[in-house]
């Protein structure tokens, strides 16, 4: 298969030999979905779905936890299991039983928000992962970034926090190098990778799904050979849906886990 991006547009002709209209490969443009307004201040579809996700999560979670009792109802049981995944599986394991409870609301919010918005990528009628737009991962990363620096500085003071970057017991000559490395890790690498990992996975996954679905649909409009080819293409698309469901869950989990790990690192007495 040859994908050729031409300068003329952002379209490519693959089935030109068949004499059809040609196949438009998905481009990053498919993520640009302005709903109201245009240009730099347009309100995008992802923003609307993001808002919907917040409302949906709020309503459902409040409803399921409102009458939380000693003996849980079915709904509460489901809610507790979901909540425990973030509370015990991430926050308590990473931060430790002493301080974790304070960070559970933040980590649980992050986890549920990312998970639902990721799954929006394979859920009709949305079919678009919110975090495929870099602005959203950056926003969440910004929150995590501020929180873990804030608690570190609050605990050790500004000087102590920077001193804490260098592990104790190192020979003097290596300390500056380690400091630079650790500084880069703490202030640049961590936020960058945190945001880009989530964005990249959602972006690429959505691209793949769109590619397979649109290719399959295109093949159906072509001759018999291509019609047959559409079958494995759709099978592949279905497989990608399943795969994406897993990746989307995993990315939500990883994002929350790393956030918890950064918080734990800032809280820890030593490396």
């Amino acid at each position: 298969m040859i994908l050729t991006a031409l300068a003329a547009g952002t379209t490519t002709a693959v089935g030109a030999a068949e004499g059809g209209e040609g196949f438009e490969t998905p481009t990053p443009d498919i993520f640009w979905l302005p709903l109201i307004g245009e240009g730099n201040w347009a309100i995008t579809e992802q923003m609307v779905w993001g808002g919907v996700s917040v409302v949906l999560l709020s309503v459902v979670m409040v409803a399921l936890s409102k009458k939380a009792a000693i003996v849980p109802s079915k709904g509460q049981f489901f809610m507790e299991n979901f909540y425990n995944l973030a509370r015990n599986g991430i926050a308590r394991d990473m931060i430790g039983t002493k301080h974790f409870l304070k960070f559970v609301p933040l980590l649980f919010s992050l986890f549920s928000l990312i998970l639902l918005n990721n799954w929006f990528g394979i859920l009709p009628p949305v079919m678009n992962p919110t975090f495929g737009r870099i602005g959203f991962p950056i926003a969440l990363t910004l929150v995590v970034y501020v929180v873990y620096h804030w608690i570190g500085i609050k605990k050790m003071g500004v000087g102590g926090y920077f001193k804490h970057l260098v592990p104790p017991g190192l020979p003097g000559w290596i300390k500056p190098a380690i400091f630079v490395l650790e500084f880069i890790t703490y202030f640049i690498t961590r936020p960058l990778t945190l945001a880009l990992r989530l964005f990249g996975n959602m972006f690429a996954g959505h691209m793949l799904i769109v590619l397979f679905v649109s290719a399959g649909a295109f093949f159906l409009t072509q001759g018999i050979a291509f019609k047959l080819l559409s079958v494995p293409t759709f099978i592949m698309a279905a497989a990608m849906f399943v795969f994406e469901a897993l990746v989307q869950f995993l990315q939500a989990y990883v994002f929350t886990l790393l956030a918890a790990s950064y918080i734990a690192g800032a809280l820890a007495d030593d490396h």
Partner: protein, 223 residues
């Protein structure tokens, strides 16, 4: 798979109206992302987590309460068991004491009975002895009168003269007996083989033997 991207493609991507490079954040989205996490955080931290944590706390308290109750019940059972064991021990000691007492009482009864039997037996022996003595006395008195009669008869036959006179006869017999008792009559004088002469020492000996027998008899019976 082959990608061909000309510089103009990239430029067109970057400069397209609204559709920026995917890595350049759309500012409204960034701000809205902050709002989203802010709102959700507020809801979760005020309405969801406290409810769930309260339920967890209550559940923990309920379980601990249940465990406390179970521990209490166990302690009570333990106390009851100890009490029963103490009572059992007490009863056993009491039974032992009673048994011991009964044994002692039985032993004392046996001793008492034995003493009583002993006393009875010695009393019987004593009375038997006394009776024998009386009978002997009687026998000796009777024997004395018979021996007198026989000897007078014998003497009258030998001498040939009747000694019918009772006073004389009695006086002679008494005299003879007195002589016999005082030891004036010797067997040598009367003649060898005379049974009367050996009577005195024999009776003395017999008396002594009887005394011996008396002491010996009690001792033998005791043993």
């Amino acid at each position: 798979m082959q990608f061909t991207a000309t510089p103009s493609t990239v430029v067109s991507l970057a400069t397209a109206e609204g559709a920026k490079m995917p890595l350049i954040p759309h500012i409204p989205e960034l701000i809205f992302g902050l709002v989203m996490i802010g709102v959700l955080y507020w809801v979760v931290s005020t309405k969801v987590v406290p409810n769930l944590e309260k339920a967890y706390e209550e559940r923990r308290a309920a379980i601990e309460g249940g465990m406390e109750q179970a521990e209490e019940a166990q302690a009570q059972a333990q106390a009851a068991l100890q009490q029963y064991e103490a009572q059992l021990h007490e009863a056993r000691t009491e039974a032992n004491a009673i048994r011991e007492e009964a044994r002692a009482e039985g032993a004392s009864i046996v001793t008492e009975m034995r003493e009583r039997a002993q006393a009875e037996s010695s009393r019987i022996t004593e009375s038997a002895k006394r009776q024998i003595e009386a009978e002997r006395q009687q026998a000796s008195v009777q024997l004395r009168s018979e021996v007198g009669a026989l000897s007078t008869t014998l003497a009258s036959r030998i001498v040939g003269e009747s000694l019918e006179d009772e006073v004389r006869q009695k006086g002679m017999i008494d005299r003879f007996l007195a002589e016999l008792e005082s030891g004036a009559v010797r067997p040598e004088k009367v003649g060898a083989g005379a049974p009367v002469t050996t009577d005195a020492p024999r009776s003395e000996k017999a008396e002594q033997g009887q005394l011996d027998l008396g002491t010996d008899g009690t001792a033998g019976r005791d043993a």
